[in-house]
């Protein structure tokens, strides 16, 4: 005999497990949002505006923009060809190369900064560069190098994953149509990698803006000389100029949110990790 199951009018209860895990998600979200609100709401809009317009913060914004854009361009120029080679070709030592190119990702930025300082400050290579007029120690150029070194793996990994996702047969076809390997890359592969390139550039740039540890070691924290936004935040915090510190923090939050939006939008199928 078949037992007839009475139709239930009650909505199915959410499982305890689902409810518990969801709670964790909600708590974490609240934690992050309240932190952001704390920073932004700590000062009045008038004070914020006055701080942003102060000559010191203006200098920090300009320096941060210039150094981060320069280091991003440097990352593109050097990481894109390297990423292409490691995505396309097989050669001995490929795994080793891949691992080493990821090292800056795992290295604490302070350690990277110490390494850069020793390389450019004490070796004959560094001295030669210095004599040629290219000085990285305690200069704004040092900030660029520090940002470049620390952020290189991000650009590299995103581009490698992007190139791996593009069938090499597109290039073969382009080559049968009269193109050299380089032309096939410029005319086909790179345009097809556009989204990856945008995503990689945005994340590299945003991280460059926020770079602190390595830049502090190599370029130092000199007011109105190597004072980027994070350095400015650090300097003003340490002398109790809270309004200026909050202003830089707010700017950094805004940049992070905007770049996160662009990254999510363009990253699509490429993987950073």
């Amino acid at each position: 005999m078949n037992r007839v199951i009475p139709p239930t009018t009650k909505r199915q209860k959410t499982s305890k497990f689902k409810a518990t895990t969801l709670c964790f998600g909600i708590v974490l979200t609240i934690f992050i949002v309240s932190l952001l609100i704390c920073v932004i709401a700590h000062t009045t809009p008038q004070a914020l505006l006055a701080s942003v317009l102060s000559s010191e913060i203006q200098f920090a914004i300009r320096l941060s923009l210039v150094t981060s854009i320069a280091s991003t361009v440097l990352c593109i120029v050097l990481a894109v060809p390297a990423a292409y080679a490691l995505a396309r070709y097989n050669f001995r030592g490929k795994n080793l190369l891949n691992t080493i190119l990821d090292v800056p990702l795992a290295l604490p930025p302070l350690v990277a900064g110490v390494g850069l300082l020793i390389l450019f400050g004490t070796t004959s290579f560094g001295n030669a560069l210095s004599e040629a007029g290219i000085d990285f120690v305690f200069t704004p150029q040092g900030i660029i190098v520090a940002q470049f070194f620390v952020n290189l793996p991000f650009m590299f990994r995103i581009m490698r994953s992007t190139f791996q996702g593009i069938n090499p047969r597109y290039e073969y076809v382009a080559q049968t149509l009269g193109n050299t390997e380089a032309q096939a890359f410029w005319r086909v592969t790179l345009p097809m990698a556009r989204n990856g390139l945008v995503a990689g550039s945005v994340i590299t740039w945003a991280r460059g803006i926020g770079e602190f540890g390595a830049a502090l070691m190599l370029a130092g924290a000199t007011r109105l000389k190597t004072e980027t936004l994070p350095i400015s935040l650090y300097l003003n915090m340490s002398i109790g100029e809270l309004n200026l510190a909050i202003a830089t923090a707010t700017i950094l939050i805004a940049i992070s949110l905007v770049s996160l939006f662009f990254f999510e939008r363009y990253s699509g199928s490429s993987h950073v990790f």
């Binding site: 073969y172 009269g178 193109n179 032309q183």
Partner: protein, 347 residues
């Protein structure tokens, strides 16, 4: 003319072993074989994607074995089209002329000419992502043809298409070939395609060329068990079909074969040897086709025997050794062949 001499290449999963082949100018050459036979590598070596470990490749007497892809004057069309997604249809077709000194006016004329020939003029401003498979394949062919290649390589160009588009594009390929007279090497795993398009064909397996010849000849005289099994069908005829009330009568050299496939006009008829029933006396059954004839030949191919029966046209029938013994069949014995209308494949 394409001449391939003792070509070997080992790519691990895919490989070629000592392949030699000659393909005449203006030939429509079919390369047939199962998956993993090495058909695509052979094509990619002709195109220049891989360098062979051993052997040489000549096109019209020119040794191209180590030439870069762009200097070979070879067009390549892949199964997945490989259209450049960031360019319009027009941008894709004219892509190859960017590296030449052709004037804008000449380029425009050529693009239009090819687009017309392939019936894709109305799609020129669209992007590949918005096109159907058949349309994309036409664009890929136009893009290759604009270079006026000496050789056009097609890697399973019809495999990804539905059957209607497939037969339409197949006719198109035949027409384009008759206009351009470009030497074509067309890779496929479909026998129908090989038979309908190819003037010559080669059957490949495990990196080797097993048999080369005209499709009908390879079909009638397979040189090995592999070819016979791979091609599958043993009975292939040409005939005229007339369809009446859902039944198709095909006249093949005076005998009338009944098929359930609706078709009109010139057709090819194929019947698998395994689908034919052998009996000493005519049997009453639902099967529509009954023919009487004498056994001409019995060939032992292992567990199954192939017997050749002349019923006005030569039929190949597959039976087991046991059946042969039980029915006391031998050369000269008169037998009946019975098969259903649904076993008769028309194309």
């Amino acid at each position: 003319m394409i001449k391939i001499e003792n070509l070997s290449k080992d790519l691990g999963e895919f490989f070629l072993k000592d392949v030699s082949i000659e393909i005449n100018e203006s030939e429509y050459f079919m390369l047939l074989g199962p998956t993993g036979a090495g058909k695509t590598i052979l094509l990619e070596i002709i195109a220049g994607v891989y360098r062979p470990d051993k052997g040489r490749v000549f096109i019209n007497g020119r040794d191209i074995t180590f030439l870069p892809l762009r200097e070979r004057n070879v067009g390549m069309v892949y199964q997945d089209y490989m259209l450049f997604p960031h360019l319009t249809v027009e941008g894709n077709i004219r892509f190859g002329l960017r590296s030449t000194k052709a004037s804008e006016k000449d380029i425009k004329t050529k693009v239009n000419e090819l687009a017309n020939m392939l019936g894709i003029s109305h799609l020129q401003h669209r992007y590949p992502g918005t096109l159907s498979g058949g349309e994309q394949q036409r664009v890929a062919i136009a893009r290759a043809l604009i270079m006026e290649p000496e050789v056009l390589l097609l890697d399973e160009p019809l495999s990804a298409l539905d059957s209607e588009t497939k037969s339409r594009l197949r006719e198109e390929m035949r027409r384009i070939h008759s206009i351009t007279r470009t030497t074509v090497v067309h890779v496929t795993h479909s026998f129908d395609e090989a038979f309908l398009l190819g003037s010559q064909m080669a059957v490949m397996n495990q990196g080797e060329i097993i048999q080369v010849g005209e499709p009908s000849e390879v079909f009638r005289k397979p040189n090995s068990k592999f070819v016979a099994n791979f091609l599958g069908v043993g009975n292939l005829f040409r005939g005229r079909a007339v369809s009446e009330n859902g039944i198709t009568y095909v006249d093949v050299d005076g005998i009338s074969i009944i098929s359930s496939t609706p078709k009109h006009g010139q057709v090819y008829v194929s019947i698998r040897p395994e689908d034919i029933l052998v009996s000493l006396k005519p049997i009453e059954s639902s099967a529509r086709n009954v023919f009487q004839g004498k056994i001409q030949d019995i060939v032992d191919t292992g567990s199954v025997l192939r017997i050749k029966v002349d019923v006005g046209v030569p039929f190949i029938v597959a039976i087991t050794k046991r059946s042969l013994d039980d029915l006391y069949l031998k050369e000269g014995v008169s037998i009946n062949l019975t098969f259903k209308a649904t076993a008769v494949h028309l194309f």
